[in-house]
Subunit: 331 residues, 2 copies
Amino acid sequence: MPTPVISEFSLINQFFTNATQLRKHVALGIGDDCALLQLTDDEQLAISTDMLVEGQHFFPDVDPHALGHKTLAVNLSDIAAMGARPLGFTLALSLPDSNPSWLQPFSEGLSALANNYSCPLIGGDTTRGPRNLCITIFGAVPEKYALRRDAAKAGDDIWISGKLGDARLALGCLRGEWPLDPAALAQTRRALEWPEPRISLGLALRGIAHAAIDISDGLLDSLQHILEQSGLALRINVDAIPRSTWLSTQPLPIQRQCTLTGGDDYEICFCAPPSQRLQIKKISENLNLSATRIGKMTLCDTDHPSIVLHDRAFNIIEIDFKCFDHFSNEY
Amino acid sequence: MPTPVISEFSLINQFFTNATQLRKHVALGIGDDCALLQLTDDEQLAISTDMLVEGQHFFPDVDPHALGHKTLAVNLSDIAAMGARPLGFTLALSLPDSNPSWLQPFSEGLSALANNYSCPLIGGDTTRGPRNLCITIFGAVPEKYALRRDAAKAGDDIWISGKLGDARLALGCLRGEWPLDPAALAQTRRALEWPEPRISLGLALRGIAHAAIDISDGLLDSLQHILEQSGLALRINVDAIPRSTWLSTQPLPIQRQCTLTGGDDYEICFCAPPSQRLQIKKISENLNLSATRIGKMTLCDTDHPSIVLHDRAFNIIEIDFKCFDHFSNEY
C-alpha cells in the first residue's frame, strides 16, 4: 500500500504543533519566510533554514560552483523577503566523499556570495552520507519594518521583482518536457543555477511595502500564503506577469505554467499601497531591477474564490496546475 | 583511485575559510560548540547546527520516538556546553516518505524534549530524499559567562559530568564488535538513544568554570580542541574517568576505547580553578548529577606531548585509537 501523501505545510501542522508552543521571545514562528526572535525592544533576528537534496533540488552533475552559489542564494532570498540585513549562516553538509575537485568550486561559489553580502559562515557540521546541503541563515530587521506575510492590506498593489518562469523553462528542457534551442537554454539556465538574492530590494522596501514573500515555491503557492495569513483575497492579471523574451515565445500554456507555478524564481512578491507607486518606481530605477504591478489585494468575499486570475481583457482564467510541493506526488 | 580522506576540521579549514571572514557582530565563528553573535552590549546568541544521517548516525530501524528525542538532545548539548539558555530551534527534514507511523512518534520524542527545555520549534523545511535530520539551535548567554573552548587556564581542574562510554559499549554490541548480555545492552542502549542534555549544569557553571565542551565526538578529541584553543597542555588520569558498572566489568581495552574515543556521550567536560571544587560539589548534589575530576590543564612544554594519559599509579598510557571523525576511514 502506498504511503499517504501529505503536503509540506500539513506535515508541519499535523505532526509538529506540540513542539511549536511559542515563548515570549519568539515574535514569529513557523509559517513565514523567516522566524523572528526578539533581540531587543525594537530589533528582531530573522532566521530561515533550507535543505537541498541531490536528485530533488539539483542534478547530480550540476556545476558545483553554481551549486555553492545557489545553496546560499536561496537562503539569502528568504532574508530579503523579510526586509532583513544578512548577519551570517551555518552550513551542514552531508557528502559521499571529501573530493577536493567538488569541494573547491562549491566553496568558491558559496564564499563569493557570502562576501558579496557580508554574510559570513559562522558554524557548521560535516558528515558522510547522500549529498545534502542545509543552510540556516540569520538577519537583523527593526521590528516595525519586518516584511511579514500577514500584513498585506485590502487595496494594496501586488508587485513582482524581475522576471518569472525562466528557471522552470530551463528545468523543463533539461528534464525533456519540452525542447528549447541551445541559446535559450543557456540563458534561462542562469536563472535556474545562478539566482541573485534581492537583498537590496528587501532593504529598500522597509517602510514602503506592507508584506512580502519569496516566490521560490511558485507564485500561486506564495500568493496563497499571503492571502491566508493576511485574511484577504486577491486578483492577478496573468498577462502582466513579467517574463523573458525566451519564455514569451513559448506556447501560452508553458508560459502560464512556468510563471504561475514554476518555482525556483528567487524574486520577491510584495504588497504596497497605491500611494507608494512613485517611490517603488524610484527604487526599481536605483537598483536597476524591474518591479511590475500584477494585481490587487481585495477583501474576502465568500461568494468568490480567494484567488481570481484574469487576462488583460479581464477574462477569468482557470488553472489546474498543482503547486510545487516536496511531498506531493505531482511534481 | 580512492578519493583522498580529509578530516572534518581540515575540510572546513581547507575549503571554507574564504566564507568565514568575520564581521564585528560575530563574537565567535567556526570551531566551538556554538557560534556567538553579539545581540546587545552584554548578551550573546549561541548558535549550533547538527546533521544526523541514516546509516551514519542512527540505524534505519531505530525507534523513531527515541530518534526524535536524540535529534534535539544532541543540539541542546551544544547549547549546554556554552552555558547558554535555549531559545528555540529550526528543523530541516529530508524523508523518503511522509509515513505517519514514523512521523508521529518522531515528533512526540522531539516535542517532549522541546517542551521540557522551553525550546520551541520556530522554523523548518521538509523535503523528499534519503533520511536526514538537521537542527539548528539558538540560545542566549551573557557575554562574560559564555563557556568557550579557548578560555581554560593552566592549573584548572578538568571535570566530567555523568559517566562515559556506555553509548559506545551499546553501539559495539549492536555492530557485533563485542558481546553484551541482554540486561547490559538494554541499560547502556539508553545512553546511546536517550541522551539527556546537561542544560542545568551549563547554566550552573556560569561564573564557575572557565571553559567547557560537549564531548559527543569523543573525550580525547574534545580535550584536543580545548588545549589547542586555550594554548595549553593537559594530563588525564584515565582510571578516574567515571564509567557505569556495565562498562567497568568489560576488558580494560574496551573500557578505555569506550571512555576515551567512544563518542556519543552527551556529557560536559569543563575546566575550573581548584578554588571552585566545593562549589562544583554543591552544584553536582543539587542537580543529582555526578561531576568527577579527571585531570589538570598544564602549561605547554615542547619537550612533552600536549596530552599525557596516565593510570592511577601515574604510569603513562599509550593510546593509538583514532578519534571519531566523520571523514576518516577509521571509524
